[in-house]
Amino acid sequence: MADYTEMWKSLGIDIKNHDALLAGLGKAYTDIFLSQKNRPEGMKYFDFVMSEVHGLRIKELIDAKAQGRKVIGSYCVFVPEELVLAVDGVAVGLCAGAELNFEAAEALLPRNTCSLIKSMFGFKLGKLCPYVESCDVIVGENTCDGKKKAYEIFRPLVKDLYVMDLPQTKSETGRLVLKEEYRKFIAKLEKESGKKITVQSLKKAIDIVNAKRKAMIRLSAIRAADPAPISGLDALLINQVFFHDDPVRFTDSVNKLCDELEQRVKDHKGVFPKGTTRIIVSGCPMAVPNWKLPLLIETSNAVIVGEESCVGERGTRWLTEAKGNTVEELLDAITNRYFNVDCAVFTPNPSRVDYVKEMTKKLHADGVIHYSLQFCQPYIIESGPVEKELEKSHIPTLRLETDYSQEDAGQLKTRIEAFNERLKRK
């Protein structure tokens, strides 16, 4: 990696602590990812992206800014990348997946706040995320109560926080709320960028994001094969990179990887032996570098074949219908696409468990591990009914609740191993 110290300094990054973060991240990446056996060649691109995650990609953002493009950061799959691209902006997902600087976060937030929110504050307060520091606008969203209230405290910490409201029911009123919020977001983007969204620019943006999602849908479908052609850890990593890489380059890289994986499937080659216990992970998002649970699962004689999560199918599985001759019609199409997202903040939210069942069938999974972040009320509360419904449909389910710390790794491993033993004896 080149020397990016000057670039980081210009962004106000805390160099000493950031160096320590990168060293830790590099070691974790080597131990967790590079040590896997039979990895596809196509993962080399993602290894490279990760090795340059705070380097080359940040340089690209700075270069884009120099060309007058705006960098728009967000923490949620409800923020439409299409709208950002339509004003020639760059959309990036922001860092919230590591237990960093929680002491500082806890000075502003209650201790009983989920790790994701604490991490978002930890990165910002510690000046450790060059993405946050590169953003012209950070977009918050009223999903859960935790995030909603945390953004109020976050606002004075950043240059420009824009918060969009979100509906909580899948009603016609809810759809209208979402559409009007997206309309306001367009106005904000147009003001910031000085560019007007046109039918042409929006259609082009929709095509770019659709192509990216199509590549992910293709990847998901390939994972139905046994032996699994790719590990769950690698697939999760790709889902994480989805949020901050250049969309066109990312799409090409995923498609190239899929070509290789399809050949692997034809050759009956995989990363784990045929017949390995197959797991679907469902629940809260796993933001980079949160690899804790997948690592525990895949070192316990099982392979993850799908993620029903915002960093996973909840973020990728729907496309936007690029039909319409006016911006208004295209806005409707975008609203309809995002209104499908079955986040647990919606009440009721029956399509989520239906889709977990569908995934289990499609991907030939043996069981589901439901992952909740501690203090994430929507997912924790929903996990009970989800478990009941899945077990009723003869899908063995294990509910886990954890955070970003490593202190419960032993207990989690015992539960996961026991669950896998249950699945094997089926």
């Binding site: 419960d408 207990q411 191993e417 026991a418 004896r425």
Partner: protein, 249 residues
């Protein structure tokens, strides 16, 4: 063939040996700061053809002894059926964790729940509380059984409960009634865990806490369900591991 199982628990390490389907040998030792050495001591002079490890330290031994490992949950399911086949659920209260397990009609693992990451309401909790009250573990259980009523103990956190107990004593509460209150607290918490996964049927009670007569009586009263305690409830996991060793060919 002799099959051994070793259960490396957080407080106690247990070894069991089966031959011709019979339990021929078992031995226990306190885990200490060096579980590996204790495990070696336990196995010394014991002949066996195959061994399986389980318990909190199962992966620890794996690097030193080339043997299969199984989770405690599976070990308890297998081990309990060695002692009885007349039960629908298992409650194991060990040194640092509590497991509630339900079985399907075929006696296979169905659902399970464990206490969360701290040792609240486990065997270690009882040990600490007995020490606070100045009892040995045997005296502690007998004292609790002798009490007519219980002092309510609200906290199951070892740290908070200790100050609660101290404050009861300083206010002149009866030591035996405090002892009963502590037992009631731990059993009602464990029964809650059990009811979540297995709301009905006979309970197989295992782990070190099953040695405690007061805990056993309270479990029956609290759940209104029959409770079976094997002759040595501490070795159930080790026996399960030994059975697993006999299955692996």
């Amino acid at each position: 063939m002799r099959y051994a199982g070793i259960d490396i628990g957080s407080r106690t390490i247990k070894l069991a040996v089966l031959e011709n389907g019979k339990l021929v040998f078992s031995r226990k030792s306190v885990t200490s700061h060096n579980p590996l050495e204790i495990a070696r001591d336990l196995m010394e002079g014991t002949a066996f053809d195959r061994i399986t490890a389980t318990g909190y330290g199962r992966h620890l031994i794996k690097g030193h002894l080339d043997c299969p490992v199984i989770s405690e949950i599976t070990a308890f399911v297998q081990g309990s059926r060695f002692f009885s086949d007349d039960f629908e659920s298992i409650l194991d209260i060990g040194g640092q964790d509590t497991k509630a397990i339900s079985l399907d009609k075929g006696g296979n693992l169905c659902k399970f729940e464990m206490n969360d990451r701290c040792a609240a309401g486990t065997g270690r909790f009882l040990e600490v509380m007995a020490a606070v009250l100045g009892f040995t573990l045997e005296e502690f259980s007998a004292a609790a059984l002798s009490a007519k009523k219980a002092e309510k103990i609200n906290s199951m956190c070892t740290v908070f409960a200790e100050s609660e107990v101290v404050s009861h004593i300083s206010q002149g509460a009866d030591r035996n009634e405090v002892a009963l209150g502590i037992h009631k607290g731990i059993i009602s918490r464990s029964a809650g865990l059990l009811n979540r996964v297995a709301p009905a049927g006979k309970i197989f009670f295992a782990g070190g806490v099953a040695l405690n007569n007061c805990a056993r009586t309270l479990l029956e009263n609290e759940t209104g369900r029959p409770v079976f305690v094997p002759p040595d409830p501490q070795i159930v996991g080790a026996v399960g591991a030994a059975l697993n060793a006999s299955e692996n060919t």
